[in-house]
Symmetry: C2
Subunit: 112 residues, 2 copies
DNA sequence: ACATCAACTTACAATTAGTAAGTTTTAAGG
DNA sequence: CCTTAAAACTTACTAATTGTAAGTTGATGT
C-alpha cells in the first residue's frame, strides 16, 4: 500500500487529512449534515468555537467547495450555510471515524 | 443523526477528530500501516516533518495507545514503532478518506 | 580513538488559534 | 420614527502550537 517514498496518493491524502484536520472543520461539517443552518445556529451547536474561527473556517470550506453560502432574501445579514455534494459525501468519513471510536474506546484514550 | 445540542457521540467524535487531525498524526499512522518502522524511516517517509514534532506526535500516539514503541536489543538508540490493534483499525478511516478524495477530486479543491 | 549516525532536546522565531470588544445591516417594539 | 437588539462579521491583541536550527547522548563502524 505505501511505497517508501510516497507519491500521488500519499500527497493528496496528506493534503486532505491536513485540511479536514484543521481545528473545527470536522465539527462544522458534522453539524451541517443535519441540514442547512444559519451562522448563529452553527455557532450554538459547536460549544467553544469563536466568531473569528467560525467565520474563517466557513470561508475556507466555501473556497474548498464543501459548503455553499446562501444569502436569504438577498440580505447580507441573513445567511445560510449548506453542504455541497462533496461536503455531504464526507458523511461516510465521519461514519468510519465513529466506528473506529466505538471499536477502540476513544474516551478512555483521551482520558489519561 | 445530529441533535441541535450535541451530546455523547458528538463530543467523543469531536475529541477524536481533533486528535487525529493534529498535524502529522494522519501521515504517521499512514506510514506505519506498511509495517513497523524505525524513527529515521518514519522521518524519511514524511517530507517536511521536523525532529521535534515527530518525537512529540509519536509520544502522543504511544500515550493514546495507537502505537507501540520497542527498544531493539534493549538499546536506547535503536527504536522501532508499530501500530497497536487500535492504530491498525484506523486503516479503514484512511480508506474512507481516500475514497472521498477520489470522489470529490481533492487536488482541484486545494489548488485555488 | 574518531567520526558518524539514530534518536532525541532545547532555544527561539513564525504561524495559528483564542479572547474580547467593536461594526454594520436588518428587524422589532414602543 | 426612534431606540434597542440581534446576526454576521472585523479588528486588535494575547496565548498556544508549529517550524527551524543547533546541540546532546549513546551506539556503531573503521
Amino acid at each position: 500500500m505505501t511505497q517508501p517514498n510516497c507519491s500521488h496518493i500519499c500527497s493528496s491524502y496528506h493534503q486532505a487529512i491536513e485540511f479536514i484536520g484543521k481545528r473545527w472543520v470536522g465539527m462544522i461539517i458534522y453539524t451541517l449534515l443535519a441540514g442547512p443552518k444559519r451562522y448563529y445556529e452553527i455557532h450554538a451547536a459547536i460549544p467553544g468555537i469563536s466568531d473569528r474561527l467560525l467565520t474563517e473556517r466557513l470561508n475556507e470550506l466555501v473556497d474548498a467547495g464543501l459548503i455553499n453560502k446562501k444569502f436569504i432574501d438577498s440580505s447580507i445579514k441573513k445567511v445560510e450555510y449548506e453542504l455541497t455534494p462533496n461536503g455531504l459525501a464526507f458523511q461516510e468519513v465521519i461514519q468510519s471515524i465513529q466506528k473506529w471510536i466505538d471499536l477502540c474506546d476513544f474516551e478512555q484514550i483521551t482520558k489519561k
